[in-house]
């Protein structure tokens, strides 16, 4: 019985060494293969003798490893009674690393101040009962000369990590997770084998990731250069950005010119691992920055799409366009409030309900604006610009009066919170993904309206030749009104989307107006495809420049590039040709 337990311990240690070499390999296979691989020659020997030899070998092996990892040695436990704190700490570490079934009981007893030394023997006192610490055997009466062990903060820290090491074999996931987290902060290298063994058995990815981190950081702190080398090598398989942090700390020169890691081989291995991790993460990061570029592009597309209709098709400069976005966002806020008050059960669907509301509200305001003000200014674009600027000031101040000057809070519904986790702690948020899809859907809808409906036909007709369209019976005034309403409504839809990713406040529109105009100008006035290309082009360029030049300089560079681009193609990426171009 005793031998079997010892053999199991020995094997666990052996597995641990193996796992250190390649923690990410298939742990089950490693576990099975290891005892055989070490004795490959013996397999050729006839079975009976082989078994005997194997047992003998295991026993020898055990004998070699045993002193440090014996089942709780009473002599070891009595060392807890010494006055030297270093010895006590070392003892606790040894107990924690022993893997013995009694270890947890003993450690817990120390933590509870119930372990004592009596007559040169470690005992656990609980109430009136006294048991032998090493064996659990009842000792009957309380000995007279009990000497309780002093637990200071340092020892308590050691106890915690030793106990955490033991908890790693708990069947409960939460317990293991907690224990793994605890071990990350530990520097008790004796726990490393236990950690490695637990890593090999662990099947839960969340716990496993933390265990890996803990094992690697423990390994790097080891006093044995060989251990550190193994740990540094093993880290190349990881994706955790924290591990990168640990590795690069090792490789950063300290003030006195030395490295935190003394051994050069370990440094080289760490550098190799770091490069490997960086190489792998770079692909992911490139993908993510591509995604953020597309996401920014979709936001720009939503902001500029309405403008592409009012400016691109109708030629009306609407400086209040940004304020339509703002109204759409505030409409979302109001709908959110209504849902919270009257339909709390369906709260997570308020965004869907906000879409038609925002569209109708902004379209109505847009149509009123067109009928009331803008139609008097057709053919006078500069005046239109100034007037709509005045309207934007009115709308901003009105929203301050109604909703206050502070930003209001718009909450993401549950299905838009969170995101897809990627390697290296990178996340693709669901709301960004949803907006990307939404922007494309709105673009498709606008395209359908313009190209496949009767209203769209009229819009195109009026754009191309107002007088002729009027002669053939197109009600141009009503078409103007509806087109402007459509453009404004689309801006309102954009506002709903913007409310999910940014601040909702009176100044929301101001921050988008310059960008939106740039998108339309870059894409080419009067072309939806141009708006699409302009929005995603600007979005991607922005995000690709950001890491190189920084956010602000990147933006300035882009504005400069647009000005230069217009030198080459004053009509934008997709130029109108013929008469329509002259009319612009």
């Amino acid at each position: 019985m005793h031998d079997a337990a010892a053999a199991a311990t020995a094997r666990r240690v052996a597995v641990a060494t193996e796992a250190q070499l390649a923690p990410c390999m298939n742990k089950e296979a490693t576990m099975r293969a290891r005892p055989l691989r070490g004795h490959g020659l013996l397999l050729a020997v006839p079975f009976g003798r082989a078994t005997i030899l194997l047992i003998v070998a295991c026993l020898l092996w055990f004998a070699a490893v045993a002193p440090a990892h014996a089942a709780l040695d009473p002599a070891l436990l009595t060392q807890l009674g010494t006055d030297d704190p270093d010895v006590r700490v070392a003892t606790v570490r040894k107990i924690g690393a022993s893997g013995d079934a009694r270890a947890a009981v003993v450690l817990q007893a120390i933590a509870n101040d119930s372990l004592a030394i009596a007559n040169g023997r470690a005992v656990i006192v609980s109430g009136g009962n006294v048991v032998d610490a090493a064996t659990g055997e009842a000792l009957g009466a309380t000995p007279a000369n009990l000497e309780t062990i002093v637990v200071n903060n340092r020892l308590r820290g050691e106890l915690d990590s030793a106990l955490a090491g033991l908890k790693l074999s708990s069947p409960d996931r939460e317990t293991r997770l907690g224990a793994a987290k605890e071990l990350q902060a530990s520097d008790n290298e004796d726990l490393l084998p236990i950690l490695q063994a637990a890593l090999a058995k662990e099947s839960d990815p969340g716990v496993k990731a933390i265990l890996q981190l803990a094992a690697a950081s423990l390994g790097l702190k080891s006093s044995d250069p060989e251990q550190r080398l193994q740990a540094a090598k093993a880290l190349s398989a990881s994706d955790d950005p924290q591990l990168r942090q640990i590795l690069s700390t090792l490789l950063t020169k300290q003030k006195d010119g030395s490295y935190p890691e003394a051994d050069e081989h370990v440094r080289i291995a760490a550098q190799t691992s770091l490069d490997e991790i960086n190489r792998r993460l770079r692909t992911v990061e490139l993908g993510v920055s591509l995604f953020t570029g597309l996401s920014l592009g979709s936001v720009l597309l939503l902001a500029a799409l309405g403008l592409a209709i009012t400016y691109g098709l109708m030629g009306i400069i609407n400086m209040a366009h940004g304020e339509f976005l703002m109204i759409g966002a505030y409409a979302t806020y109001v709908v959110q409030g209504l849902f919270r008050a009257y339909l709390p059960g369906a709260f997570s669907w308020y965004v869907i309900a906000a879409l038609p509301v925002a569209f109708l509200v902004t379209a109505a305001i847009g149509m009123a604006l067109e009928r009331g003000v803008l139609r008097w200014l057709y053919g006078r674009p500069l005046e239109t610009l100034l007037t709509t600027w005045g309207i934007s000031l009115l709308l901003i101040q009105a929203s301050r009066t109604v909703f206050g000057a502070q930003n209001v809070e718009v909450e993401n519904p549950s299905w838009l919170s969170g995101g897809i986790q990627l390697a290296g702690g990178l996340v693709l948020p669901y709301n960004r993904i949803a907006i990307l899809g939404f922007a494309l859907a709105v673009l498709a809808a606008v395209w359908l309206v313009i190209n496949r409906t009767r209203l769209g036909l009229f819009v195109r007709g009026v754009t191309q030749n107002r007088a002729m369209a009027s002669c053939t019976g197109v009600p141009t005034n009503r078409v103007d009104m509806l087109t402007f309403g459509l453009g404004s409504g689309v801006a309102g839809l954009g506002g709903v989307a913007l409310s999910q990713i940014g601040n909702v406040g009176p100044d929301l529109g101001q921050s988008y107006i310059v960008d939106s105009f740039m998108v339309v100008v870059l894409g080419g006035v009067g072309k939806l495809a141009g708006t699409l290309a302009g929005a995603f082009g600007l979005g991607l360029l922005n995000k690709l420049l950001e890491p190189v030049a920084g956010a602000v300089l990147g933006k300035i560079v882009i504005l400069g590039l647009i000005i230069l681009f217009i030198q080459r193609r004053p009509q934008g990426i997709f130029a109108l040709k013929g008469r329509a171009a002259e009319a612009m």
Partner: protein, 363 residues
């Protein structure tokens, strides 16, 4: 006699009389401020002198805007850039002239000490010289306008398109100047000035001097622009405004005319900015905001387009209203400004000047 004819061509007799009257009022302000005792009915308080001095600078900008928009038909929504650059050039000089009298008692401007900079960036060094700062305040905006205008006009960007591009232009510079790393004070800009060319800015005599300089500056700029407007080149400018393609076909090159006017107006704005900063005592990136530039356009629109006097009038009326409202009814100011934008374009396309001055002509 030839001189008289020339002068009459520049301004009609009535105009000269009006100009003289306006100048008299302008110069009466400092006299009333310094001669009369505080508290007497005729006394002009210090704050009013500073306010009118500020308006005079805005009026200079309005004249430049009017030359550009009213006469040439180019609506720039980025003239705040040139005004602010002129202001920054002067601000940098004023910053360096503080010397070691700043909060940190360092030779470096306070914000650099704050940012833990060890020495003056290279582009700051020449600004210790007053002459250089003045030249930079004029030529810096001029050069920038020349390059930007050259690129824009050469590719025949015009009308609204040009307005939008200039707005993006001022927006980009605003972002640039908001950065601390740009090296001109970031968010807070430049402030806490002490001395201008040896004169303490806290002295009321210095303030009156700056006021007088602004008034003279406005007069000079006004006459200069008037001179351009009544010249043959001025006729070409109007032709370009009304029918650019036709004037091109008639043999004129609109690009060079537009470039000239655009650059000149930028220089004038830089001049106004350089006068403005020592009077208000601060320059910060908010001057680059698109809204400040577009407000300049509304001064002109409220006054009267294609009438330099209208620009001056508009600058005084709008800014006077702004000063009053932002103190008395801060909530209402944006409503007023918004309504002003709408009303002036919808109902009074001629602006105030035409309402006041030309009423008789209409009847």
């Amino acid at each position: 006699m030839n001189v008289k004819a020339e002068l009459l061509r520049l301004l009609p007799r009535k105009g000269w009389i009006g100009l003289g009257a306006a100048a008299l009022i302008c110069f009466l302000v400092p006299i009333l401020n310094s001669v009369t005792a505080p508290g007497s009915a005729a006394h002009v308080p210090d704050y009013l002198v500073a306010l009118i001095g500020k308006f005079l600078c805005f009026a200079i900008v309005a004249v430049a805007m009017d030359l550009l928009w009213g006469y040439t038909g180019i609506l720039s929504l980025g003239h705040g850039v040139f005004f602010a650059l002129g202001g920054y050039a002067m601000g940098m000089y004023l910053m360096l002239s503080i010397g070691e009298a700043g909060v940190y008692r360092s030779k470096l401007p306070d914000f650099m000490v704050f940012l833990d900079w060890k020495e003056l960036p290279w582009f700051w060094k020449p600004f210790g010289n007053f002459g250089f700062a003045l030249v930079a305040a004029l030529l810096g905006p001029g050069l920038l306008a020349y390059v930007f205008g050259f690129l824009a006009f050469r590719s025949r960007i015009r009308g609204v398109y040009f307005s939008i591009i200039t707005q993006a232009f001022t927006y980009a510079l605003m972002l640039l100047f908001f950065r601390n790393e740009t090296g001109v004070g970031g968010n807070n800009g430049l402030t806490n000035f002490k001395r201008l060319y040896g004169y303490s800015l806290a002295e009321s005599s210095t303030k009156l001097g700056l006021y007088t300089l602004s008034a003279v500056g406005l007069l000079v700029v006004f006459l200069l622009c008037r001179f351009i407007v009544v010249s043959k080149a001025g006729r070409v400018l109007c032709a370009i405004r009304d029918e650019e393609s036709r004037s091109r076909f008639a043999g004129y090159n609109p690009t060079s005319y537009k470039l000239f006017v655009y650059t000149l107006s930028a220089v004038i704005c830089g001049f106004a900015g350089a006068l403005y900063v020592p009077q208000v005592g601060i320059i910060n990136p908010s001057e680059f905001q698109p809204s400040s530039s577009i407000e300049m356009a509304i001064w002109v629109a409220v006054g009267e387009r294609a009438s330099l006097l209208g620009g001056v009038l508009g600058a005084f009326v709008v800014n006077g209203a702004k000063s009053w409202f932002t103190v008395a009814l801060p909530e209402a100011w944006l409503y007023v400004l918004g309504v002003l934008f709408i009303a002036v374009t919808l109902f009074f396309p001629g602006g105030l000047a035409s309402l006041i001055l030309r009423k008789k002509a209409a009847t």
